[in-house]
């Protein structure tokens, strides 16, 4: 089974280092109150990783800017989501 990283490797990005456009509002909420942690399944870029200790880690470098994580987190509304700064983020070659 191909890994998502191999897919993302084909894409072009201009990463805004140190400025994540998406953040988890309260990390302890993911760890303690969210059973399904669906962001770790549904994010098409695999940006959300379920750690062994119950925590969810978010790395937005490969983000495809779709909005899935924000919309599926509808019980806890724990995703702070914005567009990257102008010119940053994924830059589609074909779209």
């Amino acid at each position: 089974m191909i890994k998502v990283e191999q897919k993302l490797f084909q894409n072009r990005y201009r990463v805004d280092a140190g400025r994540s456009h998406i953040t988890i509002k309260q990390p302890e909420l993911c760890a303690n109150a969210c059973i399904e942690q669906q962001c770790t399944t549904c994010c098409p870029a695999g940006c959300y990783i379920a750690e062994g200790n119950g925590k969810v880690v978010l790395i937005t470098d490969g983000c495809l800017e779709c909005g899935t994580c924000r919309i599926i987190c509808d019980e806890h509304r724990n995703v702070e989501w914005d567009w990257p700064r102008g010119g940053f983020g994924v830059l589609f070659k074909f779209g």
């Binding site: 098409p44 495809l64 599926i72 010119g87 994924v90 589609f92 074909f94 779209g95």
Partner: protein, 434 residues
């Protein structure tokens, strides 16, 4: 940046470009703001272009727009795990000019569309993200961008920022999107020599094929998959509702990988080079999920206003048409010397209501609900159809009457007679609504 514009258009996708072009062409002072490096660099679509919508905006688009292949054949496949039942429609009529549909590559097409905006006199600024709408009470008076001294003012702001519609939400014009109204689609573009594509799909130069797929490939979720032929590439994608994605454990990329491994698809992609992987949301909630689309000094167009007809795979054409209508509303109001108040911008909604846009969306308003409540359309039926085909086509010494009886029995067993009639009625009712 203290000057004032007639209209600021946020976003340079199909809706934004249609609005900016139409307004600029009529002499309005237009500023268009795009967050991507260039127009198109943030935009994702299958993509199929319906000629009608763009023709009404730029009649001679065929002369200069980057188009891949005009479509002469449509295949519809219902897939089981390792088989499919399908139908083809191919016609020489689709091979006569002017062509009705084309495959396009969005980054290229959008760049071209944006050049037309500039030529028409619109000012296009890229690499700039609009952070919020500037308000005077309830009235939108401009936008705040992420540039230094980035406040810009206008008499009206047309929101064409796509499905996520951040600005309208932040301003309180509508609520957060509901997972049941949104589909997530992922796709890849695979490159192959032009001759290989043409021989694999039995098509000539510039001719194209689309394959629409449903069935086991969506793993029980409400969704579909597609394959489009471009000039030197194939686009393959699959999309399902977020409300379904939310309750299962398959990742979107696993779903796409499975599709690529399906015996009906695999040979079509053999030897290709994958060059991009993209994801995008599609607002499929339809008429019942639409937000308000106008107010004091603002209008919403395209995906941001949920202008998508999921059943007919129409979206970019609705985006263009709504963009054009929003701009036309401003042009007419300005010519009449009227201000861009909510009372006057109601005209935009009236135009939409009188056009195919709202008529179609209204007609199909109950379909999303029917499919949500009846997953058998995506699970049981594909399997039954494939098994029926297999039973009928396999030569094994069993008489055809017994086979027909077997098939009928399998349908009744899976859905009961009552269920079968019920399903047929639900579909008929939802499709024939007015």
């Amino acid at each position: 940046m203290a000057e004032k514009f007639d209209v600021i258009v946020v976003g340079a996708g199909m809706a934004g470009n249609a609005a900016a072009y139409t307004a600029a062409q009529a002499g309005l002072k237009v500023l268009q703001i795009e967050r991507g490096e260039y127009p198109g660099s943030k935009n994702v679509q299958g993509a199929i272009l319906y000629s009608d919508a763009i023709e009404k905006i730029i009649p001679d688009f065929r002369d200069t727009a980057p188009l891949e292949r005009h479509l002469i054949e449509q295949r519809v496949w219902i897939l089981d795990d390792d088989s499919f039942v399908g139908s083809n429609y191919r016609s020489e009529e689709f091979n006569r000019q002017p062509f009705n549909r084309y495959t396009i590559i969005r980054t290229q097409f959008d760049k071209w569309f944006s050049e037309q905006v500039t030529k028409a006199g619109g000012l296009v600024i890229c690499e700039t993200t609009v952070q919020e709408l500037l308000m005077d009470g309830k009235r939108v008076i401009g936008v705040r961008t992420d540039r230094r001294n980035g406040d810009v003012f206008a008499d009206c702001v047309i929101l064409a920022e796509g499905v996520n519609s951040r600005l309208a939400k932040r301003a309180g014009f509508h609520e957060e999107l509901n997972p049941k109204d949104i589909a997530l689609a992922v796709k890849e573009i695979h490159f192959l020599p032009q001759e290989t594509i043409e021989s694999r799909f039995n098509i000539g130069e510039d001719e194209g094929v689309v394959i629409e797929m449903a069935g086991k490939i969506t793993a029980g979720m409400m969704g579909t998959a597609f394959l489009y032929t471009n000039k030197e590439s194939i686009t393959l994608g699959i999309g399902c509702m977020l409300s379904d994605f939310k309750h299962q454990k398959i990742t979107p990329y696993q779903l796409l990988e499975r599709l690529k491994e399906h015996p009906a698809i695999k040979p079509l992609l053999a030897g290709s080079e994958m060059k991009e992987y993209a994801a995008h949301l599609i607002p499929e909630g339809g008429y019942n999920a639409m937000p308000p689309v106008f107010g004091e000094g603002w209008m919403i167009t395209g995906d941001a206003g949920m202008f998508v007809n999921g059943i007919h795979r129409e979206g970019s054409n609705l985006a263009m048409t709504t963009g054009q209508m929003a701009a036309q509303t401003l042009i007419d109001l300005k010519a009449a010397g009227k201000e861009f108040s909510a009372k006057n911008l109601r005209n935009y909604r009236e135009r939409l209501d009188a056009s195919f846009v709202m008529k179609d969306l209204k007609k199909y308003r109950n379909l999303p609900g029917v499919f949500h409540k009846n997953p058998q359309f995506f699970t049981t039926y594909p399997e039954l159809l494939n098994r029926a085909a297999h039973t009928m086509l396999k030569v094994d010494g069993i008489d055809k009457k017994s086979k027909t009886k077997d098939i009928r029995g399998s349908f009744v067993k899976a859905r009961s007679l009552f269920g079968l009639f019920g399903d047929a009625f639900k579909l008929w009712h939802a499709f024939s609504a007015r």
